[in-house]
């Protein structure tokens, strides 16, 4: 372990070489995607080219869901003047998955400017997806001008405070967190005292063997604080989840796939369905990355997640829209 940089994947049981460097490569071959299986809190990673070698049991599970993120409906600039079209392509991709997902998670930035018609368009497009239930958490673009009032009216039924909530599906405990409200000058994403207290209480009653999936917009790990890609008080949230054997954290916001394993926790960020953003520090700012039109769909995507009961395993598969 000594000498390894902090965000390397520490275990590579399949000798795929998918550590951080490998993963960046994986982003370059985004046309093929990555497949990850978590077993006993340890991530196993495969390139999708090895998928045919995996047994059906490894590749599919008893619980399957899909994550989409950063639809940015209303964005109309290069490299994507048609974010509705690429969201439809994402839905087509979801509908074509061999194991139909039971539901979808949307990890925020549904809209670009919080306009009612932008939310309406996304709702309309997602109606054609096979999975009917969608669980949302807001991105900062969804809570502009009204401190999230509209978002909560549309998507926050049954949620607490600023929109956080939890639910159980087939033995897995899902926790939707909100880290885009009340941001402080110079700071990062924030969960805040009330939400942290709720989280501590929410997981108290759960057995340590319960698989946990946390989803929130801004990464709950420090991806690149210089661009605001992290959450101020995420360490406190993760401390409450330490006792669990399997924790999977799904985020959006950075419009690219990144992942990291830290102890029992696997962190994963999803592609956008709208436009890509540069790798950390690889541009003057995190503004939209312009790519040739024919490459656009290879840098957008969806994330498919499978849980195999009894194996303590969550399989995370990213596929592009290409």
């Amino acid at each position: 372990m000594a000498g390894k940089v902090k965000d390397e994947i520490l275990y590579d049981h399949n000798h795929d070489g998918i550590d951080r460097r490998g993963f960046l490569k994986c982003m370059a071959w985004a046309g093929t995607g990555a497949f990850c299986v978590m077993s006993g809190g340890v991530l196993k990673s495969y390139s999708l080219s090895r998928l045919p070698e995996l047994s059906g049991k490894e590749a599919s599970g008893e619980l399957s869901f899909v994550q989409i993120s950063d639809s940015h409906m209303g964005f109309n600039k290069p490299a994507n003047p048609d974010v509705a079209g690429t969201l439809k392509a994402a839905v087509d991709k979801i509908n074509a998955l061999s194991a139909a997902p039971e539901f979808m998670l949307h990890t925020g930035d549904i809209s670009h400017l919080s306009k009612p018609e932008e939310f309406d368009t996304v709702d309309q497009i997602l109606k054609s997806a096979k999975p009917k239930d969608v669980f949302y958490v807001p991105g900062e673009h969804d809570v502009l001008n009204d401190d999230g009032k509209q978002f909560l009216e549309r998507y926050g039924k049954g949620s607490k405070g600023g929109g956080w909530y939890s639910f159980d599906k087939k033995g897995t405990h899902f926790i939707g967190l909100v880290n885009v409200m009340n941001l402080k000058a110079g700071g990062l994403g924030t969960l805040g005292h009330d939400q942290l207290e709720w989280l501590e209480d929410d997981v108290k009653r759960l057995k340590h063997s319960t698989p946990i999936v946390v989803f929130a917009h801004i990464p709950l790990w420090s991806v690149y604080p210089e661009w605001g890609w992290g959450t101020e008080d995420s360490a406190q949230a993760l401390a409450y989840l330490k006792k669990f054997g399997s924790v999977t954290v799904l985020n959006g916001h950075i419009h690219q796939v990144m992942q990291k394993v830290e102890g029992n926790v696997t962190f994963h960020t999803a592609c956008s369905t709208a436009f890509p953003q540069p790798q950390p520090g690889k541009a003057d700012s995190p503004g939209p990355m312009k790519v040739p039109a024919e490459q656009l769909k290879s840098v957008l995507g969806i994330t498919d997640v499978n849980y195999v009961q009894g194996q303590h395993a969550l399989a995370v598969v990213d596929s592009t829209l290409a």
Binding site: A185, L188, G287
Partner: protein, 120 residues
């Protein structure tokens, strides 16, 4: 059109004349800046430029978002001295600073973006 141009020239000439008489040649430039009483902040590449803007009291400051991504201009004072709506590409926000002081602000969507207006 031609008439309005000549009126503008005439008005400018009168203003310059009054300014010169009232304050003397040495103070003319400073006076002219105060008279103009406007200043600009450009938002480019997720930053405010200039990051620190110094103006005279009474100056109207205009922020223009030149990024492909929306931003806001929000005072960090409590209570907030000013707060823009979300600014999409090329949209502007203006605020007139009537009292001397230091006015820190940030983009509430991208809080790493901070700036300051110093009013003398």
């Amino acid at each position: 059109m031609r008439r309005s141009v000549s009126i503008a020239v005439l008005v400018a000439a009168v203003v310059i004349g009054i300014g010169t008489i009232a304050t003397g040649q040495n103070h003319f430039l400073a006076r002219a800046q105060e008279k103009a009483a406007t200043a600009e902040v450009k938002i480019d590449n997720f930053s405010f430029g200039p990051e620190v803007l110094t103006v005279a009291a009474g100056t109207t400051v205009t922020w223009t978002n030149r990024d492909d991504i929306p931003h806001t201009v929000v005072s960090t004072d409590d209570p907030k001295s000013f707060k823009s709506k979300v600014l999409d590409t090329d949209e502007k926000f203006t605020f007139t600073f009537s009292k001397a002081g230091t006015y820190p602000y940030f983009c509430s969507i991208h809080p790493k973006m901070t700036g300051k207006v110093v009013v003398k």
